[in-house]
Amino acid sequence: MTESLRRHAPLLLSLAAGTALWEIAGRRASAAFLVPLSETLVRLWEIAASGQLWEQFVSSAALFLTGFALALAIGMPLGMLLARMRVLRVALEPYIMILYATPMVALIPFILSLMGFGFAPKALVVFLFAVFPVLYNTIEGARSIKPELIEVARSFRSSEWKLWCDVMVPYTLPFAMTGVRQAIGRGLVGMVAAEFFLSATGLGQLIMTAGQNFDTGGVFAAILVIGLIGVGLMRVGLMLEQRFARWRD
C-alpha cells in the first residue's frame, strides 16, 4: 500500500499540480479563452445529462472505428505482402513514403470535391490518417524476420498459407502494434479534422457549436473527452503490443 503510494506519488503530484494550475489559470483568464476545470466538468455533466454527449460520442466512435478498422485490415496484410514480395515493395515504397510524410489535412479539400460530405469520405480521412504508420511499421517489422526462419519453414514443407499463419503474422504483430499505437493518435486527429472540415458531426461538432456559442466550457469538455479516449486507446494498444511481444526478451 505505502509502496505503491510511493511509486505513484510523482504521478499523483503532477496531476494535482496540473489540475490546480488549470483551475487557477481558468479563474484568472478571460472566459472567452479558458474556463476553470471545475466549470468544464460542470459543462461536461450538463452535456452528458442532455444526452448530447452520448449521441455525438457514438457518432464519432462509428467514424473512428470504421476508418481505423479499415486501416488495420488493409495496412497489416498489405505490409506483410510488400515485405514478402520485393518487386511490389520496390514499386510501391516511394508512394508510401510520400503519403506517410504528407500532412493528410492537405488532402481533405480534394476528398471533399471528390466524394462530398457523407460518412464515406470522412471514414476515408480517418483511414488515410491511420493507415500509413500501420503499413510502414508492418513492412519494417516483416522485413526484419531472419531468412533462416523462413528457411526452417520451407525445410518443414510449410505451404505459403501456413508460412503466414505460423511465421509472418506472429513475428510481425508486435512491430505492427507499434504502428497501431501511432495510428490511434493520428486516427483521432483525422476524426476531428473530418468532423471539422467535411460535415460537422460527433465530438468535432460539439467543439464547433460550443465555440460558435462562446461556450468555452463546452469546448474544453469535448476536448477533455477526446483526450481521455485517446489515452484509453493508447493503453489498450500498449497492452496488446506487450501481449503479442511476450516472446521477445
Binding site: E151, A153, S158, K162, V167, R246
Partner: protein, 277 residues
C-alpha cells in the same frame, strides 16, 4: 598412416543402389561469381552416419541446403530415398546451426511445428510431442520460450523438432557449434544414444575433426576453392560409441589422419594466398 584406407571414390554400403538413402552426383553450386563447390559425389547408406568436415566457409551449409532442396543447384543431381530432390521432400529433416527455433513459440510449439506442417492431427501431435521432448531431456520445459533456455537446451529442442517428424534422413548442420564445449560433449553422446535407439541416415556437418570421427561411419573432407571431396576416411570404430571411444588408440589415429589431411589443405591455402600477394 598406411593402415587407413582412403578411397577416392565414395565407398558405400550397398553400392549397387539398394539401401542408398542419399545419392549425389556431380554437384556444383555457384553464388554469382563465387563457385562454392564442384563435382561432389556422395552415397550415404541406410542408417549410415556420414560426417562432412571442412574449414569454415568451405560450403558445408550450402551443400546441406542443396540436399534439403532449399536452394537450386547449378549442376548435378540429388536423390533422396529414390526421389529426385528439387524442393524439400517428406522424410528428411534438418537441424540448424543457429537452432532456427521460432522465438514466439514455446518448446512445445516448436517441437510440434514439423508435425503440424506435415498435417498431423491434434491427437497425434498431443501424443508424439511429449515423447520427443522427453527423449531429448526437455521434460518440464514445455512452456518455456527459446530465450528462456540455454543454447544447449535450444538445440535439444531443434533436435526434437526434427526427430518428431520421424525422418529417414537427418541433416545436421554443425548442430553443436554454437554451444559451449562441455554442453557440446554431453549433446554428442546423447545424440549417439538417441541414434542407437532409433538409427537413421545422417549427414553430420561439423568443423570439429574429433566430432566428425566420433559420429561418423565415414568422414568426408572438403577442401579447395571451389571445394571438392579431398578424401573419404572409413571410421572402423565399433558402435555404440561412448566416452570410451575417445580413449581408443584407433580413434586417435583416425583423428590424426583427418587432421593432417585438413592441415595440408590449410597450409596450401595459406601459401596460395601468400603467393597471390
Amino acid at each position: 598412416m598406411d593402415a587407413i584406407a582412403s578411397p577416392s571414390v565414395p565407398d558405400v554400403k550397398g553400392a549397387s543402389g539398394a539401401g542408398v538413402r542419399i545419392r549425389v552426383r556431380g554437384l556444383a553450386k555457384r553464388y554469382g561469381a563465387l563457385e562454392v563447390f564442384r563435382s561432389i559425389d556422395l552415397d550415404v547408406g541406410d542408417c549410415e552416419i556420414l560426417s562432412i568436415v571442412g574449414p569454415s566457409g568451405c560450403g558445408k551449409t550450402t551443400l546441406l541446403r542443396c540436399i534439403d532442396g532449399l536452394i537450386p543447384v547449378d549442376e548435378g543431381e540429388i536423390w533422396v530415398n529414390g526421389t529426385r530432390v528439387t524442393q524439400p521432400i517428406a522424410g528428411m529433416a534438418m537441424v540448424f546451426q543457429h537452432f532456427g527455433l521460432f522465438p514466439w513459440k514455446t518448446v512445445y510449439g516448436n517441437v510440434a511445428y514439423g508435425l503440424k506442417m506435415a498435417g498431423a492431427s491434434k491427437a497425434e501431435i498431443a501424443e508424439r510431442v511429449p515423447h520427443f521432448i522427453a527423449m531429448v531431456g526437455l521434460k518440464g520445459f514445455e512452456n518455456a520460450y527459446p530465450y528462456q533456455i540455454s543454447g544447449g537446451m535450444q538445440q535439444r529442442c531443434g533436435l526434437a523438432r526434427a526427430l518428431a517428424v520421424e525422418p529417414s534422413v537427418l541433416l545436421m548442420d554443425e548442430p553443436f557449434a554454437a554451444v559451449d564445449a562441455q554442453t557440446r560433449e554431453i549433446l554428442q553422446f546423447e545424440l549417439l544414444r538417441i541414434w542407437e535407439q532409433r538409427p537413421t541416415t545422417m549427414l553430420f556437418v561439423t568443423h570439429s575433426i574429433e566430432e566428425a570421427v566420433l559420429m561418423g561411419d565415414r568422414v568426408i573432407v572438403l577442401k579447395g576453392r571451389p571445394s571438392s571431396i579431398a578424401e573419404t576416411i572409413v571410421v572402423d570404430l565399433p558402435r555404440p560409441r561412448t566416452r570410451e571411444t575417445l580413449r581408443e588408440p584407433r580413434f586417435a589415429a583416425l583423428r590424426e589422419h583427418v587432421w593432417s589431411t585438413l592441415l595440408s589443405e590449410a597450409r596450401r591455402a595459406e601459401f596460395e594466398v601468400g603467393g597471390g600477394l
